[in-house]
């Protein structure tokens, strides 16, 4: 059963959604914010999925001094303490993947496994991620969905947010831009990834034209123990477009 609570994490009120039983899997969301999806649901069969809102995403006025992944890393240390986490699976999507990779390079001993999904974070020659803040929804949909005309694409990247989501979407966009404005990577991360001595799965939508698959291979080449799985029929959000296949790959990796 899904539960939602607000917990104090290092002095920061943090909304945490959780569901399922089993090995803890911490899910760090992408720039669209902390929304429970079919991808989360597909993983709860064998895992306790724990999905916290990244700092500022629910209320951008609380961002404070957060402006780089390192800052989020300190908040994650607080989250480890607050939740009593011991070597959970850390799964990060998009922006959350960048945060997860950065954390893994700094604190590999705190992780059981690492899963990066269509992650930001690396500078790859000739494969600069598209500028998600410059593109209108109709321009963005063909870059992030394998099927940009599907209702799913229009639900997640609508031309205009429905009234009940206008405010929360604005907050998420501000928090996302704070960390991922124009160049959503750290040039130093690649050289640091050798320290991330934890088994890693790099999952990527075959048709992600926001963050090209060259980034998946760059992650795999830089991490000491990683393999790449490219998912057909998915763009930047494989957990939305192909949730069962996404969950199968994660579960196969986690054993």
């Amino acid at each position: 059963m899904m539960t939602e609570s607000v917990q104090d994490v290092g002095g920061r009120a943090t909304r945490i959604v959780r569901s399922g039983r089993g090995r803890p899997l911490l899910w760090l969301h992408d720039t669209t914010g902390n929304r429970w999806t079919q991808g989360h649901e597909a993983l709860v069969r064998r895992h306790e999925v724990i999905a916290p809102s990244l700092p500022g995403f629910d209320d951008s006025t609380t961002l404070g001094q957060i402006d780089r992944t390192e800052d989020v890393g300190f908040w994650l240390l607080d989250l480890w303490d607050a939740l009593g986490l011991e070597r959970p699976v850390l799964l990060g999507c998009g922006l959350g993947g960048w945060i997860a990779a950065d954390f893994a390079a700094r604190y590999p001993e705190r992780l059981g496994r690492l899963v990066l999904v269509d992650a930001y974070g690396l500078q790859v020659d000739g494969a600069l991620a598209a500028d998600e803040f410059a593109l209108t929804p109709p321009m963005l949909r063909p870059l992030v969905f394998a099927e940009p005309e599907a209702s799913l694409a229009r639900e997640w990247v609508p031309d205009a947010q429905p009234p009940e989501r206008v405010e929360s979407a604005l907050h998420a966009r501000v928090a996302a831009a704070r960390l991922a404005w124009q160049f959503p990577y750290c040039p130093k991360l690649r050289g640091r990834l050798a320290r991330a001595k934890v088994p890693a799965l790099i999952l990527w939508g075959a048709q992600d034209r926001l963050v090209p698959t060259a980034h998946a291979h760059a992650y795999a080449a830089s991490l000491p123990d990683a393999r790449v799985v490219v998912l057909p029929g998915a763009g930047h959000y494989p957990w939305l477009e192909t949730p069962d296949r996404f969950a199968d790959e994660v579960e196969r990796f986690l054993g």
């Binding site: 951008s60 006025t61 961002l63 402006d67 500028d131 803040f133 410059a134 593109l135 209108t136 206008v166 405010e167 604005l170 907050h171 966009r173 501000v174 996302a176 831009a177 704070r178 404005w181 124009q182 160049f183």
Partner: protein, 401 residues
Amino acid sequence: MRVYMFHLMPWPHLPADFAQTHDTAWVVCENALYDAERGHEVYNRYLDELELADQLGFDGVCVNEHHQNAYGLMPSPNIMAACLARRTTRAKLVILGNVLTLYDHPLRVAEEIAMLDVISGGRVVSGQVVGTGNEFFSYNVNPTYARERFYEAHELIVKAWTEPGPFPWEGTHYRFRYVNVWPRPFQKPHPPIWIPGSGSRETIDWVAKKRFTYMVLPTLAPYALRAATAEAFRAACEREGYTARHEQIGWGIGVYVAESDARAVQEYEPHFWYYAKNLLRNRETFNSPPGHSSVQSTLGVLAARRKGRPGNFNSWEEIQKGGFVVVGSPATVRDRLTEIATHTGLGTLIPNFSVGNVPHHLTRKSVELFAREVMPHLRGVNVDPPADGVARAGARAPVPA
């Protein structure tokens, strides 16, 4: 009231099918469309028009800052003001404004404005702006820090002008071990400061608190929306415990004068559409990057626009009915501007005569008619009583934040 001629310096040579082939005149509008030989003519023509305003007795001339676009060709307004400083003799040089947020070295703004003020013998007005959303894309400045950077840069600049240096500045966004600006400004305590704003509550409250001049933007918007913004500013001044001086209310607006109403519309309208359809063409994402305004402020602006701003401008009737611009015979323009002044209390009129791709001879004719037959009648409208011991146009000692 006082009258300051504004120039946007638009690029007038976009291809005829621009609106069909481009979704924006900003940021990614390819600079292959710029031609430097025509650009040479354009710059010098526009500067001639501002010099003409000085000769015709306008109180000032205004330049502004935009980057990487066809809408306005002044990435450095201070260079334009420098050109004008030596070619004009009495007009105020209004930089409207410097985009403080874009610079990691706001001291450069403090230095250049002080240079201009000294060279011109105290004729500079320092407009200071957060910048349009576009500029944050063009200059890779994180828009979520737009407000913080603006306020901090502003405080730093004013302190650099007014307090003896050297002193250290240890801010959030700027740190300088040695703040010690040479030269110091000619005007004391510092040049007047004008702040353009599009109605966001946070800017209105801040300008009211500082007692600066607030210039109502956007320039092209329905009259009712802009009048409400002016009213909100006056209310904010009342909340601060004083009544706004007329000169604190700045009003930028498109103006065109010809021999008759019909002729004015006939001459103006095609160039207006070049401006509205091409130069204003933009993506919503470039206009409103995340955090450029606070979420609460964005929600308020969205709500106000739903009420007051048409999605598309399509007919001249719509433009005229909405009061977007003031176009007509000298008598019509005089009456309408007087009516606007009476209604809004404005004392700082900032007409823009150079719409779109209007040719030089028409701009010149319009400016001359305005200076001769309209401006003298506006002089007596909304005149402020002398302020004791305080320089005009908002040049008051800054109130600590």
